[in-house]
């Protein structure tokens, strides 16, 4: 009992130390620092394509990155299908039937050779798109999580990171189908993850209201960011890898700087009272596109923290959003079963 009490006191002291250390470097605020910068002009994006084919709610989408597939994307729907789309022609390149229709996430490998998905089956299934006979088959089923799969992202063709409702994230060896590293520390369901541009780190957002930065090879949690007042549903890196953007059920998005180890600004509006479901940054990082429960996407000037545009076009919740790797377009996926391409 005595030792527990001592440890509790030490934890409190360390927490205070961190708060103090963050204050020490807070010589200004982002708001003050960009006071002289002009607000971005009104951003008006139009729907250029509508991808029709899913028969139920779309839960996730992810753009391809390889030069051969920078205009391809994969989407996952609770109609039990993964569809790989050619967004230029709106053709379905692949329509992959899933064993479990309760899918919550999908990912495109950077090489373009594979896609992955998972959900209430607690597994991450890897599909080989470039099989010899042209058929797309399950290559691996990664099973070890004791909770739903909320997000997955490939590092390369042999490694993938998953986040789960069991409060952990796992780095997998796809070849052997085994866990390389388990990242434990969150005290609530992990809802989302994003890999840094240099592939050395990843960030996770969870239902414990915090975001954590993990060093993939050292297998450690480097930093923890608090401030949100509800579950973090969406997370992403600022394009230069030095900052993290989160979206939460508390109706706000936040920007945390990794080197200053603190929140720089909150993206909120008294008129927005519903949760953030998804987010993506434009190529320069200047625009933050965030999907909300009220069926809209709000576009924020990331530096000035003001709304500069809205994408209204879906008839139900926007569940996922992504900006293509060349920054040319943004894709939104919705519970209305459609994906839209905007620019």
């Amino acid at each position: 009992m005595g030792e527990m009490e001592e440890l509790r006191k030490e934890a409190d002291n360390l927490k205070d130390q961190i708060t103090e250390a963050r204050k020490v470097v807070q010589d200004t605020t982002l708001q003050e620092a960009v006071a002289g910068t002009t607000l971005v002009g009104r951003v008006q994006l139009k729907t250029r394509k509508t991808l029709r084919g899913h028969l139920a709610k779309i839960y996730a989408m992810h753009w391809g990155t390889d030069t051969n597939c920078s205009k391809l994307c994969v989407s996952a729907s609770q109609d039990g299908k993964l569809i790989v789309w050619d967004t230029l022609t709106t053709n379905k390149v692949n329509a992959i039937p899933l064993k479990s229709s309760w899918v919550m996430t999908c990912a495109y490998a950077p090489s373009g050779n594979m896609v992955a998905c998972g959900g209430l089956d607690n597994m991450c299934s890897i599909y080989n798109l470039k099989g010899k006979d042209g058929n797309v088959k399950v290559m691996r089923e990664l099973a070890a999580h004791t909770g739903y799969l909320s997000c997955c992202r490939f590092l390369n063709d042999s490694e993938i990171i998953t986040s789960s409702g069991d409060c952990t994230c796992i780095l997998w060896d796809i070849e052997t189908g085994t866990e390389k590293t388990i990242f434990a520390g969150h005290l609530g369901d992990c809802m989302s993850l994003a890999v840094s541009p240099d592939f050395k780190m990843f960030i996770s957002g969870a239902c414990d209201f915090t975001a954590k930065l993990w060093d993939i090879r050292e297998a450690t949690c480097r930093q923890t960011f608090s401030g949100h007042e509800s579950d973090i549903n969406a997370i992403g890196f600022f394009p230069n890898g030095n900052a993290v953007i989160t979206g939460s059920d508390d109706a706000t998005c936040k920007l945390y700087d990794l080197r200053a180890d603190q929140e720089l600004i909150t993206y909120q509006d008294s008129g927005i009272m519903c949760g953030v479901t998804s987010l993506a940054a434009s190529l320069s990082g200047r625009l933050l596109l965030a999907g909300y429960d009220d069926f809209n996407v709000n576009i924020w000037d990331m530096l000035k923290a003001e709304r500069v545009g809205v994408l209204a076009g879906h008839d139900n919740r926007v569940s996922c959003i992504g900006v293509s790797s060349d920054g040319m377009a943004c894709c939104t996926g919705s519970w209305d079963s459609f994906l839209k391409i905007w620019n």
Binding site: V34, T89, D208, A260, D261, S282, G285, A329
Partner: protein, 81 residues
């Protein structure tokens, strides 16, 4: 507003040696997180702003895409797949 503290107390409410181990891990993790070097916010903000400015012209969603160079516009779509 809920912070680390809420969850630390939740673990303390439970009893048992496994929770002593868990608590030690929490303290160890906090020590690690407390020890990192931090950059001034003025520097961090300046760097973010500079990145935005430097890449602004290469950001199609920000600058807009003219219909002649927009691969998603319906008219002449010439794609090399």
């Amino acid at each position: 507003m809920c912070d680390h503290r809420c969850f630390v107390y939740e673990i303390v409410k439970m009893s048992g040696s496994s929770n002593l181990v868990a608590m030690k891990k929490i303290v160890q993790q906090l020590r690690f997180e407390a020890s990192i070097n931090r950059v001034k916010v003025s520097q961090a903000a300046a760097d973010l702003q500079q990145f935005c400015m430097q890449n602004a012209l290469q950001d199609p969603l920000l600058t807009g895409v003219s219909s002649s160079t927009n691969p998603f516009r319906p008219q002449k779509v010439c794609s090399f797949l």
